[in-house]
């Protein structure tokens, strides 16, 4: 049967400031088909979807290469609202619902049914009154189409999470010309049973001729509902396959697998570590978007311990929680001494330091000079760079000592700046990261937490940052806990790597373990099954 595919994306490519994030991505999607889009964080999934929706960010950063064809006609959307008009709906990972509105009101947000009255003639259409009975009818219809149990009058704030997700999808369904629905990790927040209902609903929609792009890292779900999958890695299509011709294990391999030259590079065969320095028992951390539920591990003196996992699974919460930046509970010991959680000063004084993943938000005083950034923590927690005047009554900031110390760090880390007086905001990302490292080093910690040290910086700087960490570890014996989304990076530097999934450690592996093992841990599917057998599903269901 020769028909034009509903959606065809041809040779899509995209660069951000000379940084290639997508290259030559092509695929087609037929009417009523469900496409599973998988890939690690940063593989280019969201950029691809941003292009499809004409998000302003794409236009602002120089547009994209290639073509998007909808029903055989080339389309260019200037705005996500244009995409909506063309019949493409987007269900976000974060809820975009009005909290105090009922399901009906949210489903019909800005598309309400209205009734005419004469004031419209003077003041415009927005003075039409709402036709509530009709609105309810439409909402009920959308809910029925989705096949879920949802009270149209329930207020969003009173809804369980799953119902919020249904509301959001029903909103897209209500559009008359809905042809294509993009679901971005819709099941991430759902309970098992709710996820099943949603998947059933998706199948029903597909049967009615609505095509879908389903983004999820729960591969089993992809296997369950999708007709075919597209695996992206580093902005390229790695594999396009029919779902029934592949397996979870195979997909996991495609997602994370890559050439392993770097990891194999000069690693001392046997490194000897001391006693456990950091002991973490049943840690939970309430960090928005990175919740840690129950994590236990030990890090030994002199070790570089890696924490990996997909975004949003809680790997970032561990360091932030131990350093007291977010509400946390459980037991943490540094050496023998217990660490009081929720008190950053205590954690710092105990001899730990932290390089935050949120460089500009938490890591830096953007408006202040580099010098301040480097010495601030040491000055405040250890009274370094302070001169006592009047017999200790006045703790005077010793600007000379500060300048000297920061000069050392600037030289050692090759921070490119005009002087230590330059404001941090004026530096490039890589140099800002080095300032953050210098700040942590200035505390002279026993244990250093580093989160996403290479995010958003260029290749040369990446190398330098990693080398610096390695050198610090080797020369000063600093124990390092490094959190990163980039598995390669972890494998190149760490002695052991823990993988976090859904707020728990799903396994700890040596860096030399096969890449597929990491992939399976990240996706929460342990075991040796091929992904289609019951055993796999059982493990998954147990969560």
């Amino acid at each position: 049967m020769e028909t034009t595919p509903l959606l065809r994306m041809e040779h899509i490519g995209k660069e951000y400031f000379g940084n290639r994030v997508l290259a030559d991505v092509s695929f087609t999607l037929e009417k009523g088909q469900i496409l599973g889009l998988v890939g690690e964080n940063g593989a280019g999934k969201s950029t691809l979807m941003n292009i499809l929706f004409g998000m302003p960010v794409i236009g602002q950063t120089g547009g994209f290469e290639g073509k998007v064809l909808l029903d055989g006609k080339e389309v260019v959307f200037a705005d996500p609202l244009d995409a909506l008009d063309a019949g493409i709906g987007y269900v976000h990972q974060e809820f975009s619902l009005i909290p105090g509105f009922s399901a009906t009101e949210n489903i019909l947000l800005n598309r309400e049914s209205t009734k005419y009255n004469f004031l419209v003639e003077v003041f415009g259409d927005r003075l039409e009154t709402l036709d509530r009975p009709h609105m309810r009818e439409r909402a009920e219809k959308a809910i029925t189409t989705l096949g879920v149990d949802l009270d149209p009058e329930m207020i969003v704030t009173e809804m369980p999470v799953g119902h919020r997700q249904f509301t959001e999808i029903a909103r897209e369904i209500d559009r008359e010309n809905m042809k294509l629905l993009v679901l971005d990790e819709p099941t991430a927040v759902l309970a098992e049973s709710e996820a099943q209902v949603l998947l059933q609903g998706m199948k029903k929609l597909a049967a009615q001729g609505i095509s879908m792009i389903f983004i999820s890292h729960r591969l089993q779900e992809i296997m369950d509902v999708c007709d075919k999958i597209l695996v992206l890695r580093d902005g390229r299509v790695i594999q396009e396959a029919k779902t029934h011709e592949t397996s979870v294990r195979q997909i996991a391999g495609w997602m994370v697998g890559r050439k392993m030259e770097e990891a194999a590079e000069a690693r001392p065969a046997d490194r000897i570590f001391g006693e456990p320095l950091l002991k973490v028992e049943h840690l939970w951390v309430d960090m928005p978007g990175e919740t840690v539920r129950d994590v236990s591990f030990d890090v030994r003196q002199g070790e570089i311990f890696g924490i990996g996992g997909l975004a949003g699974q809680g790997k970032l919460g561990i360091g932030n929680g131990i350093m007291g930046l977010f509400p946390a509970g459980g037991k943490v010991f540094l050496g023998e001494a217990p660490i009081y959680l929720n008190d950053p000063r205590f954690s710092l004084s105990a001899g730990m330091a932290f390089v935050s993943e949120d460089r500009r938000g938490v890591g830096l005083l953007l408006e202040e000079p580099i010098e301040w950034n480097i010495v601030f923590t040491a000055m405040q927690t250890q009274d370094a760079y302070i001169r006592s005047l009047l017999g200790g009554l006045v703790k005077w900031r010793d600007d000379k000592a500060i300048a000297a110390a920061s000069k050392e760090y600037i030289d050692a880390l090759e921070i490119k700046c005009t002087s230590g007086r330059q404001r941090a905001v004026e530096l490039s990302g890589g140099n800002q990261q080095k300032v953050c490292l210098a700040k942590a080093f200035a505390v002279k910690p026993k244990l250093l937490f580093v989160a996403e040290p290479t995010r958003g910086i260029d290749v040369g700087a990446k190398r330098l940052v990693l080398d610096t960490l390695r050198r610090t570890n080797r020369e000063f014996g600093t124990t390092i806990v490094m959190t990163s989304s980039e598995l390669e990076e972890l494998r190149s530097i760490c002695d052991r790597i823990a993988i976090v999934d859904e707020g728990r450690i799903s396994g700890i592996l040596p860096p030399t373990a096969p890449v597929e093992e990491f992939g399976l841990l990240m996706l929460g599917t342990t075991g040796n099954g091929n992904g289609e057998n019951e055993a796999d599903r059982m493990v998954y269901h147990n969560e």
């Binding site: 009005i98 909290p99 509105f101 947000l109 209205t114 709402l130 928005p288 539920r293 707020g503």
Partner: protein, 366 residues
């Protein structure tokens, strides 16, 4: 959803209505102290309800749109005063004068409201303090106009309005020709009480308007924006435009409110009438149990009655209690400002707590 016990319900009711309850108690103590007769107080409340309700009601729509208390309503009051000054000069009297004043003031109020809305769009998240300062700023411009332009650029023929130097408007303008023109448009007397029926009808109409407005698409959009600006924007609702409309409506209504207020008083204090309008309206609304993010029509009426009850009673009560009427007068000033301070603080505090609670609900069960 868990069911609440009766005790919890009562507790909740008491806590969420703490401000009105405290005021009712305070009035209960102060009324006997003041020694005013019930008839006098009822008459006084009837008048004040008519006088102030409209101004207070004008605050509701920006609250609906999530812009907080519109301290910029004084802009509308100023527009109304400009209308009244011109109409006084032209010696158009009675209800026709009021209507004409409203018609002249409307375009001015719309223009000022637009400016105010546009300014507030540049200061999202601190609308209140910005609209407050904007009120002062425009007050400067108003004085510039009234003191220097009137009589020079804008001809004023009636010498009773103009300062002796030949231009600029006098401090107080007698609105004798328009006094009570709306109040007693429909005459009604119950016993000794004069009931300002005309004004009540107008206020009633306006309440119907608010109820109706909340059911329009525009009202719905404002509610959406008030709750979550970003979601509303993502759904294609023109956020900034709608916010400007909300402020324009509020400003225009405040302008009418001020005209109604002044026709009841009968004298226009050219340089301070509008200043007090904003503060009293906001204090009354808050005393009625409204918050920065939620206000209903009953809040308005309850607030006006409670606030003005205290207003009338406190000087006399102060005199009886402390031997000085002055104390009572300062006391009511203190209450007006204090209640605004406390309400704002409670609201900000509650918001902070809510944010924390929302976070906690996401926390793992461990």
């Amino acid at each position: 959803m868990k069911a609440y016990t009766t005790k919890e319900k009562i507790q909740h009711l008491l806590i969420s209505n703490a401000v009105p309850i405290i005021f009712i108690l305070m009035s209960a103590i102060a009324i006997p102290l003041s020694g005013f007769s019930p008839t006098y107080l009822v008459q006084e409340m009837l008048i004040r309800l008519a006088r102030n309700s409209f101004l207070v009601l004008s605050l509701i729509i920006p609250i609906l749109a999530g812009m907080g208390l519109n301290f910029g309503m004084v802009l509308g009051a100023m527009a109304g005063q400009v209308g009244l000054i011109l109409v006084s000069d032209w010696a158009v009297v009675g209800i026709r004068g009021l209507l004409l004043a409203a018609m002249i003031a409307t375009p001015i109020a719309i223009a000022l409201g637009y400016v105010c809305g546009a300014v507030l769009n540049r200061a999202k998240g601190r609308e209140m303090v910005t609209s407050y300062i904007l009120g002062f700023f425009v007050n400067g411009l108003y004085q510039l106009a009234v003191l220097y332009a009137f009589g020079k650029v804008i001809p004023i023929s009636n010498s009773e309005l103009v300062l002796s130097r030949g231009f600029g408007i006098r401090n107080a303008i007698n609105l004798a020709g328009m006094r009570h023109a709306l109040d007693y448009l429909v005459p009604l007397k119950i016993g000794n009480l004069n009931v300002p029926v005309g004004t009540y009808l107008t206020i009633g109409l306006f309440c119907l308007f608010i109820v109706w407005f909340r059911r329009t698409k525009l009202g719905q959009d404002m509610r959406a924006i008030g709750q979550d600006m970003h979601v509303a924007g993502a759904a294609g609702i023109p956020v900034e435009k709608t916010r400007i409309i909300a402020i324009i409506i509020s400003t225009v209504l405040a302008c009418y409110g001020q005209i109604i207020f002044l026709q009841n008083i009968g004298t226009l204090n050219t340089y301070n009438s509008h200043d007090q309008a904003g503060m009293f309206a906001i204090a009354a609304l808050l005393i009625g149990g409204a918050t920065v993010s939620k206000a209903t029509i009953p809040n308005v009426f309850l607030g006006v009655i409670l606030f003005h009850m205290m207003f009338v009673v406190s000087p006399m009560a102060g005199k009886q209690l402390m031997g000085q009427a002055q104390i009572g007068e300062y006391f009511r000033v203190f209450i007006s400002y204090g209640i605004i301070a406390i309400s704002l603080a409670l609201h900000a505090w509650k918001r902070q707590k809510d944010r924390e609670r929302a976070r906690r609900s996401l926390r793992g069960e461990a």
